[in-house]
Amino acid sequence: MSVQAITLTIDGRTVAVPKGTTIYHAAKLAGIEIPIFCYHDRMPPLGACRMCLVKVEKMGRLQTSCTLEAGEGMVVSTVAPEVKLGQEAILEYLLVNHPLDCPICDKGGECPLQDQTFRWGPGRSRYVEVKRDFAKPISLGPVLVLDRERCILCWRCVRFGEIIAGDDALKGFERGFATEVNTPFTLPVQSKFIGNTIAICPVGALTAKSYRFISRPWDNTAVPSVCTLCGVGCAMYLDVRGNTITRVRAREAPAVNDIWLCDLGFFGQSYVGREDRLRRPLVRRNGALVETTWDDALDVVARQLRAAGNRAGCIGGGRGTNEDAYTLGRFFRTVVGTNHIDHRVDLAPQTASALVPWGMTSSIADLAAADVIVLAGCDVTEEYPVLWLRMKQAIDRGAIIIAITPKRLEIERWIAHQLVHRYGVGSEVFAALIGGRTGRRRLGGTPGGVAEEALEAASAALMAAARPVVLIGRLALDAPDGVAAVDALVEICRRIGAPLNVMRGKGNEFGAAAAGVLPTCGPGGRPLDEIRADLEAAWGEPVARERGMNVPEMLEAAARGSLSLLYVVGADLATSLPERRRWTDARTGLSFLVVQDAFLTETAQAADVVLPALVVAEKSGTVSNIEGRVQRVEAAVEGPGDARADWEIVGLLSERLGRPIAYSAWEEIFEEMRRLIPDLEIGERVPPTGVRGSGSEVRPAPTDTGHRTSDTETVQDYPLTLIVGDVLFDRGAMGARSPAIADLAGEPWALLHPDDAARAGVAAGDVVVVTSKAASLALRARVSDAVMRGDVFIPRGFDGTPVNLLTDAGGDTGTVVRVNAFAPVTGGTVEP
């Protein structure tokens, strides 16, 4: 690196810094602290608070050190009398209208205003007037509380929304002394990242509802952990007092989340300490689940597993640690003797999701360095929100985003080319991107309703890319044309030299895949046949030989009666499966169901034995994120009752089955994994093999859904195509148990195009009944042209109103519906 060095003097110390360094940073390098409020090192300098004033020789006025670039030979003082006077003046000004209600302020003890007044303040105030008076505190939605009197107008939160998140959630209103930070019309804040503004607020103006008067910072113990709610794997601290998580803070992880989290991460961890956690094993006796001892429950399960042998299957494993997943894989492949093991709980048959390895081959950091990012059916802020912050950085550096989705993304304003298409024809749009003009004309000019010019422009941008990154998401993978979409994108990636990233999977599903919880792949994502000898050597036992079934295949086998036992780990199949009937049919055919979970989910309620499991926050070990990066988690709190880690539970089962897998601690498991997965290293990546790699699975044989309707029947009775997609805030097993998240999620809804809404006589906010061949659901209508005419979008994850009731008519891959205004008088058709 040939960075020109600048030498300057600060408070008599000579400092050499690279050209472009500010005085503030130069001082920091020299070990000299300059007080700041508005400056934040993740944003460009603003120079508004005037706290960081310094004196520079030969410059007439005091200078803000956060904005002034170090110059050769500069002589800077941070302690000159003028500087002292300036600092005292600024602090006095800041405090004149500050309420000084520190004793009841959540920020007390970790407040920069407090600390800097302590160190640099004048020690007295000459202010005798009446302080500025605002109604306080005011609620800005389910998570945020605003105290405008405490606000010192540093603009950090406003600029976070403008620069970092791009959501413009908080703004300055009015001007001069009347200036206040707020949302427009004091409405609930619209953001997925607002927790970060609480973190960077230098006073107690922005605080979290969930942390109000909960704890003093010095009473918290910070436990390093990793969020496993979406798959980005953001590093976080769980602040713990007693055995309670009091709050969540971002932990700096430059390669992953930098210093940010999303609001699901901040406020979605409260499920951990919920009262309704499973505490004791349950066993079905006389038709009812009753509490029992571990010994009893394990005896029952061991007996059933021994009897089932390779007619047993295991689904799940993506919610625990890597060590949990690895132990599960070892247990089923050796002790139980089956390869029917799959973490991909929500896999639908015949979808592209079953064909490609999940995860990113690019690194998260690559996103920020890209010049063109293609979001193909990937609703990034709903599915992997913190990745958006990286993309926003790329945009700020001049990158452009091409989004090709059946639903307009909420970040549309930042997207150079947003192509919204009819659901189910995304593959044609992808193909047309590189198909050239003739290819498009063959498609009638407007594939999926996308205008030719828009396509042309996006295509030109794509072809000009130097560092492109392509992301395919669930809205493309699980669409009826998902396989064609993957083919088209593979071709695009080949042509432009881009990596194809498969944005599919949540929690620690990437760790589960890497640990070998896949029917045909062992640890490290290597095909089982290739790794079998290594596994047998390491485990000292034969590994099952029969080809493993994936989730849809297992369910089908269960329905046929050829799979007799299902062992479900941390998954609610009833609500997660794209088609509910596949679950009910499977359950009917099964002779025994074991569910190992933290909650008595709908699936668990149908189990023969329920085993109480710990969640990640209660365990130590490692987890892997969407780019395959391995990170450490530490147990922050003790689990409820007798709940145990997944790896411990299967360890106990293996003892009962006479072939003990006896690990003493997670480290032992991790070391064993490292011997089988050469790249496994804490902090490093074990990325998926990539779509073009040889490790991808064989295509499953097409299975007959038996529910397809003929076209004529469809169009007349069910004129709308259903899109099912993920939303960040839902009311699933965890969301429903984190009050803030449940509030943010609100009521279940359906999004309609205005024309379709008008045709149905429905306005935004009305209750509508959405009917497919299989069922009807009552939902709150949202109306916008974010979807095309003829498409209706319903989010997953509202377990009380499960959309998989509707999709029984054909899976995610082609359900058609009709929408009617809710008419209670003629009711009776609304389910459930």
Partner: protein, 421 residues
């Protein structure tokens, strides 16, 4: 004394009429400029000695030379027609009296710096000016003085009229650019956002005042040498207790006393007490300074900190004026017009106004005088932009020259001069 020219035509029956303007020799300056290489146009303006008439007084030619002449870079000219400095009304007078002159100046300036789009940021309250300017622009387009291929040359220029919405701070050039981009009028950080380098839409931009560009039209029409012979005239807005308030075209360096004389002297034969020589942002001056020449240097060099020519808005006060009330009004003005971005301006102005409020309502304390000075001291040299630092000069001068008046207010709770309001 040379004949005034800037104000010569402001009383025409229809100021926006193009034919009349052409008949008076209008657009001659532009015609000449278009025949010259742009660099020579800038040189001519440079040679004239013209300094910006917006308040800062920066030499116009030099300002234009900062604009990179690289033709591959889009450049803009922005006209600051957001006249708002208290006591200043010369730009409005020119806009309402000679709108084509401004358009001519705009076209010359744009040609000189290579801009093909110019934006006039007009104060919203200038309704009459807007009507005239809109009409003048339409006529100029029609007659080929604006638009594509001006007068058969290859020079294209579009002029777009935009208005403010009630914010004094938008008169600060970088705040004006923010406002013109549709945002809150908050000043930008300098560096790096010097308009000549990163101005409107982050492109090199010349921001010029209305009067400045009218001078430019005359300079190009008659030549820099002629212009200098006229004594480098400036427009002085004279208001307050003079016989005939108005805009006067005076040679740079006319004394304050001379300017007051030009406005008919003190009204009703009353006695001069104080004045703001350059808008409310300049320090207050007393009779002792009446013979100070109104030019950039002489005013700035006085022993009264913050004294300056500024926008040459001379506000004259006679012996009936309550200085405490007037300074309180200036403080309130800056309080209400502070953008709120930086701490000292936002908090200092409200604090000062609260202290003034007490003093004017008979709740003053003697220590308030030190407090006022102290709060003002904390604002000096610490504010983000000049707005906040416009408060201390008049406040400090009033505390120095009229301390007795403050003390009287505090002691008696009343004013010892005829209150004007």
């Amino acid at each position: 004394m040379p004949e005034p020219f800037l104000l010569k035509h402001i009383h025409e029956p229809d100021p926006a009429d193009l034919r009349g303007y052409l008949a008076r020799g209008g657009y001659e300056g532009l015609r000449k400029a278009l025949a010259m290489p742009p660099a020579e146009v800038i040189d001519e303006v440079d040679k004239s000695g013209l300094r910006g008439r917006g308040g800062a007084g920066f030499p116009t030619g030099r300002k234009w030379k900062f604009i990179p002449p690289d033709p591959s870079v889009i450049r803009y000219l922005v006209v600051n027609a957001d006249e708002g400095e208290p006591g200043t009304f010369k730009d409005r007078t020119l806009l309402e009296g000679d709108p084509h002159r401004l358009l001519e100046g705009i076209a010359i300036g744009s040609y000189a710096i290579g801009a093909h789009q110019a934006f006039v940021y007009l104060r919203r309250e200038f309704y009459r000016a807007r009507d005239l300017l809109e009409r003048a622009i339409a006529q100029a387009y029609e007659a080929g003085w604006l638009g594509r291929g001006i007068q058969g040359t290859g020079f294209d220029l579009d002029v777009v009229l935009a208005t403010g919405a009630g914010a004094y701070i938008a008169g600060e050039e970088t705040a004006l650019l923010e406002s013109l981009e549709g945002r809150r009028a908050l000043p930008r950080l300098k560096p790096p956002f010097y308009p000549a380098v990163k101005g409107l839409y982050m492109k090199p931009t010349a921001v010029n005042n209305v009067e400045t560009l009218c001078h430019v039209a005359w300079i190009l029409a008659r030549g820099a040498a002629w212009y200098r012979e006229q004594g480098t005239p400036i427009l002085v807005s004279i208001s307050g207790h003079v016989t005939t308030p108005g805009v006067y075209e005076l040679p740079l360096g006319t004394t304050i006393r001379g300017a007051i004389a030009a406005a008919g002297g003190m009204r009703g034969g009353r006695v001069f007490k104080a004045c703001f020589p350059g808008g409310s942002s300049s320090a207050l001056l007393t009779p002792a300074y009446l013979d100070t020449p109104m030019d950039y240097d002489a005013l700035a060099k006085l022993d009264v900190p913050g004294s300056m020519l500024g926008s040459a808005a001379l506000m004259v006060m006679d012996e009936t004026t309550c200085i405490v009330e007037i300074v309180a009004r200036t403080v309130e003005f800056y309080r209400d017009e502070s953008c709120g971005k930086c701490t000292p301006c936002r908090e200092g102005t409200i604090w000062l106004s609260q202290v003034f409020e007490r003093i004017l309502h008979g709740r003053g304390r003697m220590e308030d005088l030190d407090l006022l000075a102290g709060v003002a001291r904390g604002m000096m040299g610490t504010c983000f932009c000049p707005l906040g630092e416009s408060v201390p000069p008049s406040l400090n001068a009033s505390l120095r020259f009229f301390r007795g008046e403050y003390e009287h207010h505090i002691r008696t709770g009343a004013c010892d001069v005829g209150v004007t309001a």
